[in-house]
Amino acid sequence: MKREKIQVRICVGTACFVQGGADLLLYGDFLNPDMLGECEIEGTSCLGGCKQAESTGLKAPFVEINGKIYGSVTQERFIQLLGEAMHA
């Protein structure tokens, strides 16, 4: 059975880009190919996460995975989050 791909959107707004979002755009280098094949990755302008930082306590850079927004995403955390999404 063919599974749906995981929908990933990386924020490339100014605030996210300078605070670590640029590292995430190297996904082609640090994700393993199996994982890469499971994901549909695209860039997006501001997800709006930074404007609700006070209420949610989340910080840049933001990534949206299957509709849910995550904050403070480093490369390690990105791999971990995608792993969780694959086995969900």
Binding site: G13, T14, V18, G43, S45, C46
Partner: protein
């Protein structure tokens, strides 16, 4: 802004192995006096000596054309002043002066003075144009040869071009690919062929094309300095740069309308601004993850707009490359390069700057380069006008 633009640019390749050239081209614009003076000079020999001779000649010719002095006297002064070459015991350097005056854009007159450079070529579209030249003998004391200056006046209108070059162009390929070199006729034919393919080619591109052709005829090892300058009169190429959301939301619609109706190329810089424009156009912004560099976020595509980029980081990088005069070919393939390429291919750049404050940039963790939009746009305008002689305008919304 004006409907007619006088486009002046030049291209140059030094003699193979030389780090300095014996051909010098100068241009300056005096917008208040509606005058543009272009001077092309070729010094005797090559390298430093030739460069000194040519620089002296070009600067003198340049200054003298802004003064009301008689041209014959100016030419004599130039030749009397040049230092004498130790080997050849003569002082010599050629020059071409094009003094463009335009009381109005319907009335563009060029005073042309030619001394020993290959004759200037004139075209109207793809039609070569001949004109009368006055022959003036200088009769200077201490002259080592007959000195003849050609003086003429031409009127230019839209579609006209003047092409001037040094003997490095006409003699290119001599004895290698062509027995007598490219010669004036060959250059003329090349220009006709080029213009026939690209009728709106800019002075920059045309001069580059001529110089590169001469270089290839020389077998990619130029045997003299190769310089070509082009003056063309044409309709301006316009570009609109929109950055920042309008201060009030009511302004959004008007901004979208401005972008939609603008005739020329359009750049939207800033994520939020792009979203506003996309909403009004009913189109989607798609981020292009293939073009970015560690310093510049990716550009995006949006139907109806030529380029969509991130805002402040991209703009401040654009400002610094313009200030340093970095050519776009030296940049990585990112949004700044695309931005710069469009700016270089425009004559008039209009900026519309939104004054709304972005809350996401008020975080103290954000680097200081993300300064104030207005300051950065000011730097870009200043550099475009000073370093690249572009016309710019600015409007806040």
């Amino acid at each position: 802004m004006n409907d007619i633009f006088i486009d002046v640019d030049f291209a140059q390749i030094y003699k193979n192995g030389q780090k300095i050239g014996g051909d010098v081209f100068l241009q300056s614009r005096n917008p208040l006096g509606n005058q543009i003076v272009c001077t092309l000079s070729d010094g005797l020999g090559s390298g430093v000596k030739a460069n000194v001779l040519a620089t002296l000649t070009a600067h003198m010719a340049h200054k003298l054309s802004f003064s009301p002095m008689n041209l014959v006297r100016s030419a004599k002064i130039i030749m009397d002043t040049l230092p004498v070459c130790k080997e050849r015991k003569i002082s010599y350097s050629t020059f071409t002066i094009a003094d463009v005056r335009y009381p109005s854009f319907e009335d563009i007159e060029v005073q042309l003075i030619e001394y020993d450079n290959p004759p200037v070529l004139r075209f109207n579209g793809i039609q070569p144009v001949e004109w009368e030249r006055n022959r003036i003998e200088l009769d200077r004391e201490g002259a080592f040869k007959e000195e003849v200056v050609f003086q003429s006046q031409v009127r230019l209108s839209v579609g006209d071009r003047l092409v001037m070059f040094t003997d490095g162009v006409t003699q290119s390929g001599m004895g290698i690919s062509l027995p007598l070199g490219w010669r004036g006729g060959g250059v003329r034919q090349f220009i006709l062929d080029t213009v026939a393919v690209q009728p709106t080619i800019s002075s920059h591109d045309l001069s580059q094309a001529i110089v590169r052709k001469a270089y290839s005829l020389d077998g990619l090892a130029s045997r003299d300095d190769i310089t070509c300058a082009v003056v063309s009169v044409r309709r301006p190429r316009r570009t609109l740069v929109v950055t920042g959301p309008p201060f009030t939301e009511e302004g959004d619609e008007a901004l979208g309308e401005r972008v939609k109706t603008f005739e020329g190329r359009k750049i939207v810089s800033g994520g939020t601004t792009a979203l506003i424009v996309a909403r009004l156009f009913g189109k989607k912004v798609k981020v292009d993850l293939s073009s970015w560099s560690p310093e510049v976020p990716p550009s995006s595509t949006l139907e109806g707009v030529d380029l969509v980029t991130e805002g402040m980081l991209t703009l401040s990088k654009v400002a610094s490359v313009l200030e340093k005069k970095t050519p776009s070919s030296a940049l990585p393939n990112d949004a700044v390069r695309k931005f710069l390429t469009i700016l270089m291919e425009s004559d008039q750049v209009s900026f519309i700057v939104g004054t709304k404050i972005n809350e996401a940039h008020q975080d103290p963790n954000i680097p200081v380069e993300i300064g104030i939009r207005r300051t950065i746009v000011g730097r870009i305008r200043n550099a475009l006008e000073k370093n690249y002689l572009k016309d710019t305008s600015l409007e806040y919304v």
